[in-house]
Amino acid sequence: MVEYSKIEFLVACASSHVRDGEAVFGGTGMPLLAALLAKESHAPNANLISEAGFIDARPREVPLSVADTRYYYGCSAAIGLIETLGFILQGGRIDVGFLGAAQIDEYGNLNTTYIGPFEKPLVKLPGSGGGNDIASSAKRLIIMMTHDKRKFVKKLDYFTSPGHLEGPGSREKWSLVGGGPEVVITDMCQMGFDPESLKIRLMSVHPGFTVQDVLDNVMFDLIVPEDVPITSEPTQEQIDIMHKLDPKGIYLGKGG
């Protein structure tokens, strides 16, 4: 039996959603590992882009920052932010963006800015960074989060990045370039979106969890289809690749 941590499961699961040849915004942390794992396994021609300006990157060590020089050696172009977020992303050339969030609502809208009221925030979070740009303009979004009931809210404390906003027609109303979120992956389950309402719908539960576990850990009405399969486990090969990519456990060691 393959042994894995929750983080390793999450990363392997997310990486399976990247298709070969796609242009992918990687960032840092779990999303970066997921993109790199995809490149090292089933999607060798994925074009990994960092918003700081690195294009077609093949880092030999995991970067700690989107601007880390570890992204530089082996990439095919090192330019800047107007290039990546402007010409490439807003130009409609990014297939997949990965995002995380402190809060998500039932339409896949994300908060990465404040906890508490806007007028008197309790916690200042990092903010949008390129997140809003990616959520607005990438063709598909993969959202990765550790599962905590307090993150799956009916109403966001602050609305940073657009998912499907208020449902059908919303993204068209604001002329957003991208298609919005396609999948939400946690360490408990995978969720997709109901094509009619564009609300979050359970897709699969990870081994060891039940549908009820998921329902107990979201604060909105989750759509549950009749058939909810068990998510397939990562392979030993995937685990080995992840450990090779992050030998010091900089990302894998955290929160697992």
């Binding site: 920052s65 601007a67 050696y73 977020l85 008197k120 390129g130 809003n132 303009s137 940073t160």
Partner: protein, 304 residues
């Protein structure tokens, strides 16, 4: 042929910081861990500057220093955190105390605001921010934060962000000649736009090179001298962050910084030890220790 007179724009770090009046708007260069003008943040702190408004896409340790020490009380930014290490503890505390106002934009929005300022036009259109709280809620920018309109040509919704023309642009680069021709290795982040949008531009550089070297590799010159007002030559300007081809980030120091900033007492200890407790950048480098700094030197071909 007569010899052209060459202007020497070099000044000291202290002289450069002294020029910045309290209450100034400043474009802050560098991106993430790369080419952060940390030494300039230290000097502004030592000179007890106040009420600065820092404008950038995303900065990290430098923003923590400036809001933590009370140098800046306004940020117009997209991002602050120490990325892989975690949240910006000082910014988090100062926001909760009401001592720091953050006007939230996205990275593309800020880069386009700098591009607009550089192009001498009042605004730039973008396809981000629409439908979210960044478009609905504002702090000190009020109704001048942004505007969403129906495009007069296509009829689609488009977001207009106001251009930025700060009093000063502060940019850190690898190499410069004494007239200000500045060369950047690696990614530029938003420093092309940021260096052109300010009323005055101060370039901090790791290394002084001769004009002949500039003319040997002119494609490396990302900021021509015509934009540059002052030049400060200073090794390890970005420590504990990184400078491509020159040195890596100092992970041990960064982790210590991040741990100390978890409490106000810890942050004050860092401030007293590493910033107020030294009189100059060279004294700071002595405190870090040349043995440590030498270990961070970049190795070919990796650039870190």
């Amino acid at each position: 042929m007569t010899e052209a007179e060459v202007e020497d724009k070099r000044i000291t770090l202290a002289e450069a910081a002294k020029m910045v009046p309290n209450g100034s708007e400043i474009f802050w260069g560098g991106f993430g861990f790369q080419r952060a003008p940390i030494a300039f943040a230290h000097e502004l702190t030592r000179q007890k500057k106040r009420h600065l408004n820092i404008q950038t896409c995303g900065s990290e340790v430098d923003l923590e220093i400036m809001c933590g020490a009370g140098v800046a009380d306004k940020f117009e930014i997209a991002f602050t955190a120490i990325e892989a290490l975690g949240l910006s503890n000082n910014a988090r505390r100062r926001v909760a105390e009401g001592k720091l106002q953050v006007e939230d934009y996205s990275n593309l929005a800020m880069a386009m605001r700098f591009l607009g300022g550089s192009l001498n036009v009042p605004f730039m259109p973008i396809r981000s921010l629409m439908g979210t709280d960044m478009a609905r809620l504002a702090r000190f920018k009020g109704d001048k934060k942004l505007e969403i309109i129906d495009c007069p040509f296509t009829g689609e919704k488009i977001c207009l962000v106001p251009s930025v023309k700060p009093d000063y642009s502060i940019v850190h680069v690898q190499r410069v000649d004494m007239t200000g021709n500045a060369q950047i290795d690696g990614i530029v982040g938003e420093d092309i736009e940021g260096s052109r949008c300010g009323n005055k531009l101060i370039v901090l550089a790791e290394e002084l090179i001769d004009e002949e070297e500039i003319r040997t590799n002119p494609d490396q010159t990302k900021i021509p001298a015509m934009y540059v007002d002052h030049v400060v030559i200073l090794p390890y300007t970005a420590h504990p962050m990184m400078c491509h081809n020159y040195y890596d980030y100092d992970l041990e120091h960064l982790q210590m910084f991040h741990k100390l900033t978890r409490t106000e007492e810890g942050w004050q200890e860092y401030l007293d030890t590493y910033i107020l407790g030294v009189e100059s950048h060279s004294e700071y480098l002595e405190k870090i220790g040349w043995e440590n700094l030498n270990k961070l030197k970049a190795k070919k071909p990796w650039g870190y």
